[in-house]
């Protein structure tokens, strides 16, 4: 995760020429560390060292650990939500197909990696929601964005006759919960299997017997 000698040289150059690039590098390193080890378990000087930044430059961008935590959620975790969920939702023909594709992609990635680090948003949500109100509001805004993107797609599916869903908002919340919970189980077992089981149940439920989002399952 550390940038190594070349990384530090780049960091030094960026500190002079590219303060935005340096800021992004710090956020990237902090995102990886908070995601894998947790916010409280990661000392700031570990992030400083891994990003190859001087204390002065670091404090200039992030005077407090909280400021860095908020930037990680608002900038970097938000980007993960966009790339992992929002873009596939916009690209897929239906919400059901987007959910299937996202879960297949996530499972493929878990199979390739050695460690299951879990969902970055859920990790930080559970650790920080009660710790600080600003953290909680930042986390909740991303969950809201994620849920409303799924609900919107479901409503469009219903309007176009591509799905029948009792309550798009409830089903969207359900999808996010299944993904978050399935990731928690995968992280606890360090195997993708629990998320794979959840994916199968969820896709089955959303596709139904006629390929519709109607939650029907028969043996």
């Amino acid at each position: 995760m550390g940038p190594g000698r070349r990384g530090r040289a780049v960091a030094r150059r960026e500190r002079t020429n590219d303060p935005e690039g340096l800021r992004r590098r710090i956020v990237e390193v902090a995102y990886a560390a908070f995601h894998a080890r947790g916010y409280h378990a990661t000392p700031l000087d570990v992030i400083r060292r891994e990003a190859g930044v001087t204390g002065g430059a670091f404090s200039h961008h992030f005077p407090t650990k909280k400021a860095l935590g908020l930037a990680v959620i608002r900038d970097r975790v938000a980007r993960t939500v966009e790339q992992t969920w929002i873009e596939p939702l916009l690209a897929a023909p239906t919400a059901a197909e987007a959910v299937r594709a996202v879960l297949a992609g996530t499972l493929g990635e878990l199979e390739r990696r050695r460690a299951v680090t879990g969902c970055p948003l859920s990790n930080l949500a559970l650790e920080l929601s009660l710790h600080d109100r600003d953290f909680r509001v930042a986390v909740e805004a991303l969950y809201a964005r994620w849920r409303s993107a799924i609900a919107e797609k479901l409503r469009a599916d219903v309007a176009a006759g591509r799905a029948s869903t009792r309550d798009p908002d409830a089903l969207a919340t359900f999808v996010v919960a299944v993904y978050s919970g399935g990731m928690a189980l995968a992280k606890a077992s360090q195997r993708p299997a629990p998320l794979a089981a959840c994916a199968e149940e969820l896709v089955h439920l959303m596709n139904g017997p006629k390929g519709r989002t109607s939650a029907t399952r028969r043996r």
Copy 2:
């Protein structure tokens, strides 16, 4: 959460007469603190103070923070899993009815409380699974117990003709994921509503059109 003056007097007596009682008190205080604030964010001396215990007595029972963390998971979180899930599963006529009753009970409790602290097992699972192998194994054992109790009940339901389920193990994993994920969303929003939406979807799915566990939903 602190025991107050009376609590400390009790703690002093227990230290002399009842080492097991003192140990239980420390685990109880640590459980509440780790659940609400997190393992890493809770300093040991806060737990010592809240439990009203001397440093010597504390170290006698728990020489390290890790030893205390493991005791919290294996003794106290395990008890929560038994009381919240395993006992209702044994008492209910079907798995679907147990899931409905547990979720209704949890939602009622969330409505009464001021803060949504989330699922104790998921909180510790996400924070500690990558931090330490022993923590991960302890957490995974509880998830396994929880999932297998649901799967066993589903199999009994199927055998008795009270439910039809494609894959009891996958559906059991799915139920645990929905509960864990719904609690994460409720914690992030500090409202029971997301868990209520998940509960409605899940109960609908498990009951199906003929009161069977067959995941059927129609508008």
